[in-house]
């Protein structure tokens, strides 16, 4: 795997940091890759802006921060607006479709949309939307091995919620495998295109 930069962003309380931790754990512990995760968050526990940066690589990672993400996962409108300009040309955008309306895009962006919150609610707990999102990410990016990610989900969740989160992961994964990307340039109405 080439060095891949990922940013996951949303509100505090959506499991943004946990999602990045799960993916980083899957990569570094179960797939023998290097993974570096950093995070930033506001002073609020819930509801404030939350963002995680995850870098994956086959060789040791030196620079600790994402400079231009290859993959951007957004779970809030604010996150989408704020981080879209830094997405790499031809990069992947993953959106929580019920929470984000795409108003601007980079050219050639491949967009994948998922109603993660709604799928989580169908399983009975809104809180597990991050596991849905991790599953969806795994399905659409094909970056990480699904069994590795499932093991990392199991490792990262307290026993009482483990089965539910694994169900959420599978649901997100299946949903992701059934989707194909919408490539920016034509399909989106009322969307401004940002220059690099």
């Amino acid at each position: 795997m080439q060095l891949t930069e990922i940013r996951i962003a949303g509100f505090g309380g959506q499991g943004v940091i946990l999602s990045a931790t799960i993916l980083g754990r899957a990569a570094s512990i179960y797939q023998g890759l290097f993974a570096t995760m950093t995070q930033s968050f506001g002073p609020e526990a819930r509801g404030g802006a939350s963002s995680a940066q995850l870098i994956l690589s086959e060789s040791p990672i030196l620079y600790p921060y994402v400079t231009q993400p290859d993959i951007l996962v957004v779970m809030s409108q604010e996150a989408c607006t704020r981080f879209m300009p830094e997405l790499k040309d031809g990069g992947i955008l993953i959106v929580e479709q019920d929470l984000v309306r795409i108003s601007a895009l980079k050219p050639n962006t491949r967009v994948f949309s998922v109603p993660a919150t709604r799928l989580a609610e169908e399983l009975g707990k809104r809180m597990i939307l991050n596991s849905v999102m991790v599953g969806f990410f795994t399905g659409v990016t094909q970056l990480l091995d699904r069994d590795a990610v499932a093991r990392a989900v199991a490792d990262s969740i307290p026993p009482s919620l483990r089965d539910l989160n694994l169900k959420a992961f599978s649901k997100g994964l299946d949903y992701g495998l059934s989707q194909s990307a919408t490539v920016a340039g034509g399909e989106f109405e009322d969307v401004a295109y940002l220059e690099d």
């Binding site: 980083g24 512990i29 290097f34 993974a35 950093t38 995070q39 930033s40 600790p64």
Partner: protein, 385 residues
């Protein structure tokens, strides 16, 4: 001796530097921690507080950093290995008691997860601007040991080393992390307990009638008193003689303060850890530490790809400063380049050690982030002969 298998979390983990530091402390035998919450260091003792009941030990959240930095010394004299964690503002408050630990020869570890300053500064963002404070922050003459990790794995490994050095030299050891290293999550491999070497406290073999609390056996480090076995001793921050009693004479001052300095300086060659690569044929050598060393390494790789002859030297021990190594580099390099997250601290030490043998270039950054790789690379390109 080896680490306690009941306490070591052997395995492969995905941990941030703060949590890895805590695991290192527990593996090293720390059974007491005191602290006052502060970003970005709180997570270390937060984990300690949740882990330590199952290991057997104590965490106390104190009323402030002054209290935290002295209560841990009480725990040490009571027989425990102990540490505290803080960041810039709290580190400032701890200075008096760091001097007390140096004077009373109390082995303990002070973790400073550096953030932007001065004062409250940037609570959630990195800096490396406490490096001189770690060396000179408390008043009076004393020598100090300070280590600088650059990854969560090193936060684990070097925390153990910090505790071991504290015991070996009976001195406070400064563990100089930074916010990026503290909050960065990476793979951390924690070995089996029998693979972890622990320096035990060295207790006196003398009887309670012959024992001198500050008597040395030729190696400049006094043996410790076993607490609760009838040994009487007196400890004080005042200048004291071998019995531990105040002695206000220039002779006693000279003897004590020189020993406090010499016990560490004499061992400098053995305890100045560093990482050096490609320096033999290098025209320019970049000298860095902590998180900046990773950005510098990236710059070195990019520079080499352009055909530049660049060497890398990373300080793992910041104090005592590796004078001899830097002097050796300065003898054949055309220039030494020193990026750091402050406006020029360790660069002064590099200049001092280089003693005019070659130019020393500072690449300062006020903190709040890390250097852009290009900033370091262009400094390297600029000084290329």
């Amino acid at each position: 001796m080896k680490a306690d298998p009941q306490a070591v979390l052997t395995g492969t983990h995905f941990l941030d530097g703060d949590k890895a530091c805590c695991e290192g402390a527990i593996a090293a035998g720390a059974r007491f921690a005191a602290g006052y919450p502060i970003t970005p260091a709180t997570e270390i003792v937060e984990r300690f507080a949740s882990r330590i009941p199952s290991v057997g030990g104590t965490f106390i959240q104190m009323e402030d950093e002054l209290a935290a930095s002295i209560v841990l010394q009480g725990a040490v004299w009571g027989g425990a290995k102990a540490f505290t964690v803080t960041s810039g503002p709290g580190f400032s408050l701890m200075m008096e008691h760091i001097g007390y630990a140096a004077m009373t020869e109390t082995p303990c570890v002070f973790v400073d997860v550096q953030r932007g300053g001065p004062s409250t500064g940037l609570p959630t963002l990195p800096a490396q601007a406490d490096m001189m404070q770690a060396r000179w922050g408390s008043h009076g003459d004393y020598e100090i040991i300070a280590l600088c990790p650059n990854s969560p794995q090193e936060c684990f490994d070097l925390t153990i080393r910090a505790f071991n050095l504290a015991e070996e030299f009976r001195a406070p050891v400064m563990f100089m992390m930074d916010e990026v290293v503290g909050h960065m999550t990476e793979k951390v491999v924690i070995p089996a307990a029998d693979q972890i070497e622990i320096t035990p406290r060295r207790f006196t073999h003398r009887s309670k009638f012959e024992y001198l609390p500050y008597g040395t056996n030729g190696d400049m480090v006094p043996d410790f008193v076993p607490t609760g076995q009838g040994y009487k001793f007196h400890m004080t921050g005042l200048t004291h003689d071998e019995r531990g009693y105040p002695n206000m004479t220039p002779q006693a001052q000279d003897q004590l303060v020189r020993r406090l300095q010499k016990k560490i300086r004499a061992a400098a060659a053995r305890i100045t850890f560093f990482e050096e690569e490609g320096t033999e044929n290098a025209e320019v050598i970049v000298i860095s530490y902590g998180i900046t060393s990773r950005v510098a390494q990236r710059a070195v790789e990019l520079g080499r790809a352009r055909g530049l002859k660049i060497g890398k030297f990373r300080l793992i021990t910041a104090w005592p400063f590796p004078d001899e190594q830097i002097r050796r580099l300065a003898l054949h390099a055309k220039a030494l380049v020193v990026p750091e997250l402050n406006l020029g601290q360790m660069v002064r030490e590099v200049e001092r050690a280089a003693a005019g043998l070659c130019p020393v270039i500072s690449v300062p950054h006020a903190g709040g982030g890390v250097h852009r790789t290009d900033d370091i690379l262009s400094a390297l390109v600029e000084v290329m002969p």
